[in-house]
Amino acid sequence: MGHDHPHDHDRQHDHDHQHDHHHGHDHDHDHDHDGSALSEVALRVRALESLLVEKGYVDPAALDALIETYETKVGPRNGARVVARAWSDPAFHAWLMQDATAAIASLGYTGRQGEHMVAVENRPGRHNMVVCTLCSCYPWSVLGLPPVWYKAAPYRSRAVIEPRSVLAEFGVTLPDETEITVWDSTAEIRYLVIPERPSGTEGWSEDRLADLVTRDSMIGTGLALPADAHPEAAA
């Protein structure tokens, strides 16, 4: 079909990677933060960026703005606010379950990798978790960039066939009778898990509730923190 061979540079890289370890680069780490040698991939990415800038395809200031967005503006705090609102406001909850894209957009969270949202709710006896077996689809608009494990082979291969043992590796043990639905994000719909509201949080403000909503609880590989885990809980 004509697309399944890498270009020569890539082939050379793989050859080197597998058979030529004596040049001493550590391929798993990037060393530019301490001024020592850059890893092979870091050098490749640097060359790629210079080429794209030289060709005029990318604007360096836009690259910095993209990074800043995901470092400071878009992250799991967005999703935690959605969950806290859903726990607090029955009308919002109903809207979220009916039309998550619109309900989430009303809080200001829209855009790339969150264009088409669906919320799925955990409750006693029913647990939901989300995976992308084919790549790394993830609801960026509410959770930010996915963690490494979400994109890596162990999670992607096992979530759909043995979710209970995967959950155990996150320290989550569900009752034996709990049904599990695993959502494989194969198209452009992105899924946000609404974890169960912890007991003992009646009357809490949305801000305080949001502190209990972890990233993993919105992927379904964790649960919301218990009330007494709140940083301001009485010691």
Partner: protein, 235 residues
């Protein structure tokens, strides 16, 4: 294609290894790889489906040995060559040897917030009525295209039930190969864990997968139950 990316149900990758207090990036090069990938995507030179295909069609050994941002960087290199925006030699050296090719647009820093907030919605007007409705029983097709598809191998030739009709969306199978967006109805389909994994599968597992209409056929008619009278011996 049946590439290394299609991981659902594969075995031997070991435990999921969540990193405690995982940083957003593991090295500065990951930030740059993210940014140049997004900025080049914004030039409109290829579709998200094409970019997924250029990642998954690298040799399996390469795909499995790379970190995810390295997969992105390698995919970007392949896309640049695929589209003629850069040559392998230019990518190797990091310097332009020929004038740039025209691109539709160059993302500017000032436009980053608006472009990210807008994202790239993939829903489209339907060109035909939906073939299936919520509650319908379907069978996924047995198919092994050498081209891009979003029907995972573990879900081919399996019985499922329509739980959601999402609307018409860009069909990745054609869009990844310059054959048009070919909008197709997208369904949320629920599969019983034991239909996917056999009698040893988790009896309380269901897997929800978003699948396009061309992946589906109506479930074969179940044989009508025998009427008791027919089982009686002929008088």
């Amino acid at each position: 294609m049946n590439g290394a990316q299609d991981m659902g149900g594969q075995m031997g990758f070991g435990p999921v290894a969540p990193e405690v207090n995982e940083p957003l990036f593991h090295g500065a090069w990951e930030k740059r790889a993210l940014a140049i990938t997004l900025a080049m995507g914004a030039t409109g030179s290829w579709t998200i489906d094409r970019s997924r295909f250029m990642r998954e069609s690298m040799p399996p050994a390469a795909y499995l040995s790379k970190s995810y941002y390295d997969i992105w960087a390698t995919g970007l290199e392949r896309l640049l060559i695929d589209t003629g925006l850069a040559s392998a030699e230019e990518i190797r050296t990091g310097h332009a040897l020929t004038p740039p090719a025209p691109v539709k647009r160059v993302l500017k820093a000032a436009d980053v917030p608006a472009v990210l907030a807008r994202g790239g919605p993939c829903d489209r007007p339907a060109t035909a009525p939906a073939r299936f409705a919520v509650g319908d029983r379907v069978m996924t097709r047995i198919m092994h295209p050498k081209t891009h598809t979003r029907l995972p191998r573990y879900a081919r030739g399996k019985p499922g039930r329509i739980e959601a009709v999402h609307g018409a969306f860009v069909l990745p199978d054609t869009n990844a190969h310059h054959q048009g967006e070919g909008p197709a109805w997208l369904y949320g389909i629920v599969f019983d864990g034991r239909d996917l994994w056999g009698p040893d599968g988790d009896p309380l597992l269901t897997v929800r997968i978003d699948l396009f209409e061309p992946y589906l056929e109506p479930a074969p008619l179940e044989p009508a139950p025998l009427e008791p009278a027919l089982l009686e011996p002929t008088p």
